[in-house]
């Protein structure tokens, strides 16, 4: 993700706030059924910044998604910031859930983050299975690998 020929978003673009994992968990445990969980996922995706078409390039693409997903990373003062987008609404919302756990966090915090336990708590464990084509696994891996 650090290819010098790759277009990069500006530093300012990386500075946006996300709901933290605890707030998200509270929000999702309140959802009475799948409809509400997925409505919340899509609302979460809607609140995230979008990547402009020139940043939606193959070099930033996360493999393993049936939909297209792109991710950028910035490390600043020991914290890791991400900009990510997808052309599918549910995947973008799932990205929002990952960002809740990783965006603006230190390497140590990101390294101890356990996506499996997290998505289980959210009532979305099925979405993280490696056999799924939503690419959530690859996105979680990409966020972690960016810190190494």
């Amino acid at each position: 993700m650090t290819d010098s020929t790759m277009p990069m978003p500006s530093e300012a673009d990386f500075h946006y706030s996300v709901q933290d994992a605890e707030t998200l968990l509270a929000r999702f445990t309140k959802a009475p059924n799948w409809q509400e969980r997925y409505r919340q996922i899509m609302l979460l995706g809607k609140d995230l910044p979008s990547l402009s078409p020139e940043l939606r390039v193959e070099t930033a693409q996360v493999k393993g998604c049936e939909s297209d997903a792109w991710i950028y990373h910035l490390e600043q003062a020991g914290k890791h910031y991400y900009l990510a987008d997808s052309d599918a609404r549910i995947v973008k919302g799932l990205i929002g859930l990952l960002l809740g756990a990783c965006h603006g966090k230190s390497r140590a915090e990101i390294q101890v983050f356990d996506p499996t336990a997290y998505f289980k708590q959210l009532g979305l464990e099925g979405q993280l299975s490696p056999s799924r084509t939503n690419g959530l696994n690859s996105l979680a891996k990409a966020m972690l690998e960016a810190t190494l």
């Binding site: 409809q35 997925y38 409505r39 939909s67 609404r89």
Partner: protein, 445 residues
Amino acid sequence: MTQPASPTPNTVTHTATNTVASHPSASAAPDATAVICSSDSEQRNAKIRSQFPALNQLLDGYPLCYLDTAATSQKPQMVLDAMAQFYANDNANVHRAAHQLSARSTLSYEKVRDQLQQFLKAERREEIIFTHGTTESINLVAFGLTAHVSAGDVILIDAAAHHANIVPWQELAKRTGAVIKPIPIDQACRLDVSAYKTLLELKPKIVALCHVSNALGTVNPVAQLVQLAKAQGAITLVDGAQAVAHLTLDVAEIDCDFYVFSGHKMYGPTGVGVLYGRFDVLDNLAPLLTGGEMIKRVSFEATEFGSLPNRLEAGTPPIAEVIGLGAAITFLQTDLTPQIQAYETELINYLQSQLRALGEVHLYGAFDDNIGVVAFNLADEHHQDVGILLDQQGIAVRCGHHCAMPLMQSLNLKGCCRASIGIYTNKDDIDRFIAALASVKDLLL
């Protein structure tokens, strides 16, 4: 976005359509143009359906609604029994060892070849080769023809073809310097016959067609297309993977040189496929795989290959799977009656009309005579979002490019959703699917 009524999972059967009471257009009652299915066909269908144990399950409390038969069909109990019976009683390698078990196993295995000869109306039993699936069958032909293809030879490929009927020909072209030319589809998503006739003037060496498009369900007039290709001296291959579970086949009538399909899309097991080849063409194929079973004599100086069909079946074949396939053929010969074929067509037409009635659904290549498949997108929504939300309700459909990227490119699509039916699908499945899609529409639009 309005809140869709929550279904009560364990009771979602026919009454699931109550969840879309606010969508009069998606009501469970068939509209006047889609009156469907005599009770006779429905009774037959119910009897057939009861033979498929996998269909009888709940997913997160929702009854499974399996509309992904084009990817793989479910298996009737008789196929499962045939394979279990083989392993429990007859398991031995075929064509080897002078013992009773091997003789029994060989007899059962070779009996399926006879069954297939009759099923396809092939002239000779040696024209039936067992493979591991459609993909292997096509690879076997494309590799086997290498010596017969020269630089500059033209290979025509159906633009609606599955990747399995594209990539092996590209590899053949790489080996030989042959040139691949796609046969375009017209605006309505049918093979463009006039463009095809123009391409045939190039005197192609090989013409690779699909019988039924796996992504759209459109059906090609294969007998006519083959006749045109043969008039120009081409070798013809027809991919029948999506046809074999639905149509009554007759390779003599189609008159192609090769016809290929998989067991698992015709209610048989995975891991077994069929290559039918006209004897004289088949006999000239160089074997893709060499080794045991396919030889006449081996020495370190020279090896002599055996004769058809063994020459193209190197190694221990998928014996239990072939026997399972035999049971699937018996199943089809008993149950895929003209009435049931008509019922499948009615279901496809009902599915198309209910999708149109739901509104904001784009259908692709939807014709009255489509086989097994309806391709669609919901408004401008991503097919993956639609697929995930349908999956939440126990609906199994495939969403993606359907291994037909060139076709998706010619439709200017990234992908689409595909609902596909089988011999066990009933009207209730369609109604549940439409109700589920209505709630997806509520969530997304």
